[in-house]
């Protein structure tokens, strides 16, 4: 009997090892594949021509593959979504973790968690039905007398930013709330003992103590925003322009989605290169995340 137990132990150890290797192999294969398929276009087009030129005309007689505006759009769009979404999310987290009466929290909490489970294309549909017409009206009001502005019909950067801002809410709220809940009660008690009000305690004690968790949540939010394609492809307009609020814009993700189906040759390879650029961005964000987590861990030990 003992020996059969031993064998089961060993077999299971191998099963777990294989599972672990599958994950590593997948990451490794994706890395290698992205570089193999993304690099040829760079060598053919030239890295400066590709990254620092703004003309994207992949099917012209003399094709141009400049993705500067596309990169800028991804960066600016994500930053704007974070600027709008993070204050709302963190304050929601404060409300849920510190202020809300238990009964109300029991309603709001599942609602926020449900928000995280909604497929991204549904956010895009809501964007088309609600945000796009609103933004078109706003656009017509603002640019009524400026013939130089190209009307986008509401499919522009600002619409995409609003959709992204809503999409990152659940990620940021959930992670921030968890980290605030984890702040030891004695810190709050000490603050109250010193005569601080609830609000002062939240902003001077709880949030600073939960800082690392909140930063993690923001980085996760950035990751979600920069990698999102489906929702914003429906509301961003997809023309290559400088990322101004009422311009039709193309993100790194939507650039790939929009042109993959009919592209061929160098054009297709250039789309893979856009994928590589996006991949590198997300790698940087992940490295930032692990660095902040490590720092937070060290701070916790002190």
């Amino acid at each position: 009997m003992k020996s059969s137990k031993d064998i089961i132990e060993r077999v299971m150890a191998i099963v777990f090892l294989v599972c672990g290797i599958i994950a590593i192999a997948a990451v490794f294969a994706i890395c290698v594949y992205m570089f193999i398929s993304g690099v040829p276009a760079i060598t053919q087009i030239g890295i400066t021509e590709m990254l620092f030129s703004s003309v994207w005309e992949p099917t012209a007689a003399e094709p141009h593959f400049g993705i500067l505006y596309i990169i800028l759009t991804s960066i600016v769009g994500t930053m704007m979504a974070i600027i709008i979404g993070v204050p709302i999310s963190v304050l929601t987290a404060v409300f849920l973790a510190e202020i809300a009466p238990k009964k109300l929290a029991a309603v709001v909490n599942p609602a926020v968690e449900l928000l995280a489970g909604i497929p991204s294309v549904v956010y895009g549909l809501l964007g088309i039905l609600i945000i796009k017409p609103l933004m078109y009206r706003l656009e017509m009001a603002i640019f009524a007398n400026s013939p130089d502005h190209q009307m986008t019909g509401g499919a522009n950067l600002i619409s995409a930013v609003f959709v992204l801002a809503v999409m990152i809410l659940p990620t940021v709220v959930n992670v921030s709330r968890t980290s605030m809940k984890a702040v030891p009660a004695h810190l709050r008690s000490s603050s109250y003992a010193l005569g601080a009000t609830k609000i002062t305690t939240v902003f001077r004690v709880v949030i600073p103590a939960a800082k690392s968790g909140i930063i993690t949540s923001i980085v996760l939010g950035i990751g979600r925003a920069i990698g999102e394609a489906m929702a914003i492809t429906l509301v961003a307009g997809n023309a290559v322009n400088l990322p101004f609020p009422f311009n039709s814009v193309r993100f790194l993700t939507t650039g790939i989605v929009a042109e993959m189906s009919y592209s061929q040759g160098l054009h297709r390879q250039a789309l893979f290169t856009i994928g590589l650029v996006l991949f590198i961005f997300i790698m940087i964000i992940n490295i930032l995340l692990s660095v902040t987590l490590k720092k937070a861990g060290e701070a916790g030990e002190e």
């Binding site: 020996s3 099917t59 019909g153 989605v257 592209s263």
Partner: protein
Amino acid sequence: MKKLVSLILAGVLGAALMTGCGGQSTEQSADNGASTGTTTESTASGTVSMNGSTSMKKLVEAACETFNAQYPSIKAEGQFTGSGAGLEAVANGTADIGNSSRALTDEEKAKGLVENIVAIDGIAVVVDNANTVTSLTKQQLADIYTGKITNWSEVGGNDGSIVVIGREAGSGTRGAFEEILEIEDQCAYAQELDQTGAVLTTVSSTPNSIGYVSLDVLNDTVKAVSIDDVEPTVENIKAGTYSLQRPFVMATNGEISAQSDAVQTWFDFMASEEGQAIVESVGLITVE
């Protein structure tokens, strides 16, 4: 220990069962292949090599698929290097058929190339139903898409900035539209959508917008605009009066009757009911 042995046994048995099934199913599919082979009556054998227009890729690939299944002794295949290159290839004999998404020039015809039109590609220009503009000239249309005209009042409509909607780079419809209007890569799009359906829904829901779609998907959620006062209908396209159209040509060096049996079989197939059905299935208009 016992458990383990039985487990292994079960595994071996299972594997044996699977391979048994696998063998059977391949035999079966081989039978099927043979039976379909015998049903077609083809005397010709050989290859049909085509070269040319990328816009015709969908048509050629769909036709090749059905053709090769029906005539196993003939192998038809296409390369897609552009209309000009395709016509050159057929002229110098490296291809049997040159696919061209434009009419042949007199110079090309003088070389002995024969223009066999197999299908017509038609494009409709659409606006939202509330728009009062019913007709545009080709020049106005080109100016709208290149950004020279930005307000509907400039073309006889109500005051309102035009929202210019088009397809993504690489789309055949976009290629055809820009080629016919001679505005390749000069277009200033406000929205580049990656599906015909998306163009229709966006135009129908966006006041003051304009878009283009292939003729076969038109419906009443949008309003099709006449070009130079000619309505976009299949009849007008066949009559040649509607200008947003282009022929899909399969050019041969000399008349079809002078070609190899395999190539003649190909043209018979394209003219047959089945071939015409393929033309319609990829959104094109038949010649008849």
